[in-house]
Symmetry: C2
Subunit: 326 residues, 2 copies
């Protein structure tokens, strides 16, 4: 949830003259995205999302994010399309903040995805990976394997406040992942945060992906691992193999996975679980005064990590090991 910057009507009306999207009809601050201020903007021509980029976002990254949405939309992925101003740019300034207007996507996220939703998600993720090909701007993953240890060190001394022994467990896991992380798998643009809140459906069919503000270049299969962690566990944190099979099946129906990618899934899933464990742990231990957001409990990802550590075969993700190349 977030609306940090108040946008005055006069500044907004002035700002809209830079676009060809009609006149202001209504503006509502919306509780979407935690990093930026977002507004649902209605004009005489349609509905849009107005985003003001707050201090936590590196403005150097904005051409990547906006350019990527444009590139993906042009390559057939259903995602927000940045609206171009009369001067040809997509990034403007409003209330002294970098600001963009993007198209509005119909659809809504599902809180408890079914196997069918997971299959749709898998297909959409593969479409995203293929649509990302040829995008010229690059952005390193700011939360890649090499970044996890420095991130952990910020929470190390207090990690045991969450669960006694957590600090040691994380250190052991970091040692393992740094030694065993695959580096020669297919790379490309990944979303890196394709949680259920960022994927929209209509009539149980995929209708669009939002929030590209963690997107970067990294291993494509790592994006699958992030999704397996968020989409395929039940509320009691048990793993639903049927959903995993559907997710991977949907993905592979659009983009085949190599044997190396499949075999790397357990370690990639461990990495994805640790990555979200580490950011949640940090946020949990560092709630700012007057915070508008309750941090998510890191325990969820401690449990997920434990599951993946026990996976000795991709069969546990629903992959038929005898038909890996099918």
């Amino acid at each position: 949830m977030a609306v940090y910057t108040e946008v005055s009507d006069s500044a907004l009306i002035e700002h809209l003259t830079k676009y060809d999207i009609g006149e202001l009809s209504s503006i509502k601050g919306i509780a979407e995205g935690v990093e930026n201020s977002n507004y649902l903007l209605t004009t005489t021509k349609g509905r849009y999302i107005l985003t003001l980029y707050e201090a936590r976002v590196d403005t150097n990254d904005l051409p990547f994010f906006l350019g990527l949405m444009e590139h993906l939309a042009q390559n057939g992925l259903s995602c927000p399309l940045p609206i171009v101003m009369k001067n040809g740019e997509t990034l403007g300034t409003l209330e002294n903040k970098p600001a963009a207007i993007i198209s509005f996507l119909d659809g809504f996220s599902v809180k408890r995805p079914s196997a069918d939703h997971c299959k749709e998600l898998g297909k959409a993720l593969a479409q995203l990976h293929m649509a990302g090909e040829g995008f010229s701007i690059k952005r390193a993953n700011a939360l890649a394997v090499a970044d996890w240890r420095p991130l952990f060190e910020k929470s190390e001394k207090r990690a045991d406040e969450v669960i006694v022994g957590l600090s040691d467990k994380i250190k052991t896991e970091l040692d393992f992942l740094e030694r065993n992380w695959p580096h020669d798998l297919p790379k490309g643009v990944i979303h890196a945060d394709m949680f259920t809140d960022n994927v929209f459906f209509l009539q149980n069919k995929f209708s669009g992906i939002i929030d590209f503000y963690f997107a970067c270049n990294d291993l494509l299969a790592y994006d699958i691992a992030i999704c397996l962690n968020d989409w395929c566990f039940e509320p009691d944190w048990s793993f639903n193999i049927t959903k995993a099979r559907a997710l991977l099946g949907g993905y592979r129906s659009v983009r085949p996975l190599s044997q190396a990618e499949l075999e790397a899934l357990p370690v990639l899933c461990r990495g994805a679980a640790l990555r979200f464990l580490l950011t949640r742990l940090f946020d949990w231990l560092n709630v700012p005064v007057g915070a508008m957001v309750t941090p998510k409990n890191p325990s969820e990802y401690i449990e997920k990590l434990k599951f993946h550590k026990g996976v000795n075969s991709v069969a546990l993700y629903g992959i038929d090991v005898n038909k890996v190349n099918s």
Copy 2:
């Protein structure tokens, strides 16, 4: 700003089957209203506001609020219209909370109203007062003159933390207002919170009023006093007599004001200033842990109260005292 209750897609889809408003297209938590959870709901048939009533709202008041919006809309005022369910009711239950769906109003609030906006506001306020006639349910003002002293007593000991001497000043003002409050002026339904955020405009013309959750039965002219306090002071808290003249002129072009109502304006304005001073003072001194809203500084209303205490003639509100009956 507020979104307290999370609404799951499955519960919402089920809830919508009770209405004839089409199928769910999109749902966004919006930062509107501080007492309730509000969502902008889009269906295949249109746009609506979904409100879940949180614990701070007395559910016994909901038939008044919803019935009032219906009554006012039916009498030609542009305000949200509660949508009737197939069972004939406007109040349902969603996520275990009382819930209503109301129509969406186009338009946006102006941060710095002009004299023209104030004139439009005055006309709309008078329309509201006239449209409220004949509404059968009654609701006492929970923040009427008799409620101010008990409210003050909750802040009394700490009031001087804001400004030294504030506690004594408020006591003196309470004594004055309790002795001098008019009781025989025309009464009816008042909005009681018609601040700039609750009034929408399109092309500088009034387009609608929202947020009726302070509405009640009280002196009609007291509603004008609340508006004079919010609409006619500049950001430096100086009083803009041109805006006041426009507001009162707009009002009187729709509903005439009696000499008694005009003469009561200074004391009503003092009362309105004190009422908002007292609630802001309480909120300022009692910020809940983890609050999502920064309380507004009470100093603004200390200054406004000071202005009204110096008003010895309605001429200072832009009323031509020689033409009071014109």
